[in-house]
Amino acid sequence: DEALDNFLQNFKTLHAQFTQTLYAENGELLQESIGEMYIQRPGKFRWVYQKPYEQLIIADGERVWIYDADLDQITVKALDKALGQTPALLLTSETNVNDNFTVKRLSVTNDMIVLEVRPKGENPQFERLNLTLENNTLKQIELLDNLGQKSLINFSKMQKNIAVDEDLFIFTPPAGTDIIQDM
């Protein structure tokens, strides 16, 4: 879908605040969280959950680090193993979207486009994902996972192609936290 390609191809960096609301398969509200995210194509993102708990997820182009201060735990995964077919892969990979996903246009209303993205491959890690673009920027991601849970991520204060400090995508482990290699 050229709207998606157009969006993905001409953003080098993205920065936004987000709220994420998770619903169980029966529609019950499970959790609301807020945070901030940076994306730099290819292969880098910084996903910070601020409330109700703090958790830092950094992709540095090679690996994905997950740091949970309260759990006092750092998990490291190889980038491709971690991203698999997650929304983060869609937004950060340079490969053509159609290699990993099928994209269908659900609706267009003046400058708002809603696209349905389904992962290809035998065991996809999620069912489908609806992406809402508004004047060529990302507004919302609604993800339906394989257990029927729905995650609604709404972005705000979106900045596109601003200069982003490289250190944001480098994870420096705080002293004394145990690091678990799970490559």
Binding site: P52, D68, T75, F126, L147
Partner: protein
């Protein structure tokens, strides 16, 4: 490791513990929101956790840190079902064997029903536990797990664990809880 010697409780601590235990036993319906990390020397697993308990029926949900569903355990006295993100469903009589068989991770769910509230499974046995100065469990040795309660917080009048670590000779299980929603038995149970 029976070698550890725990500080024996004072009479006051024991009295506080009795009172605390009675109040906690009254909680039969709750919802916990938290995170869990299971470590072995070769593998590890981190997940967001949602535990809904409604008397003898329960639902334990494990999601990846970015919110995608990984495991859904639904149980009642008659049957336990485990659904995975690979669209497989398994059933068994008890949750512990089911989780161990499917994920190879030992999550002592039946005992956690007590431990997560800061209770022991059955009565406390001398020299297998230590109480803190408010008469709550700080350490417990039970069912060959060592449980350490690192933090308690209060939620509408109940003081409940919000950080605990379980260790046995192979695994370390760390649990942190960001929210307890409670429905003590004496009030009517509205649907969760």
């Amino acid at each position: 490791c029976a070698g550890i010697n725990f500080k024996p409780p004072t009479a006051t601590q024991l009295a506080q513990w009795q009172q605390h235990q009675t109040r906690l036993n009254a909680i039969k319906t709750w919802r916990i929101t938290g995170r869990i990390a299971i470590q072995t020397d070769s593998d590890n697993w981190t997940a967001n956790t949602y535990w809904t308990q409604n008397k003898t029926d329960y639902e334990l949900r494990f999601n990846t840190p970015t919110g995608q569903g990984a495991l859904l355990l639904q149980g009642s006295p008659q049957q336990v079902t485990l659904k995975t993100s690979e669209n497989e469903t398994y059933t068994a009589q008890d949750p512990d064997t089911l989780i161990e068989e499917v994920t190879h991770l030992p999550l002592p769910v039946s005992n956690l029903y007590y431990w997560i509230r800061g209770l022991s499974y059955g009565d406390l046995v001398t020299n297998t536990y230590e109480l803190d100065d408010a008469g709550r469990l700080s350490q417990l040795q039970q069912a060959n797990w060592g449980i350490r309660y690192e933090r308690y917080d209060s939620f509408n009048g109940y003081v409940l664990p919000t950080k605990l670590t379980l260790t046995n000779n192979q695994f370390t299980v760390k649990i942190v809880i960001s929210q307890w929603q409670l429905q003590p038995a004496e009030t009517t149970v509205k649907s969760l």
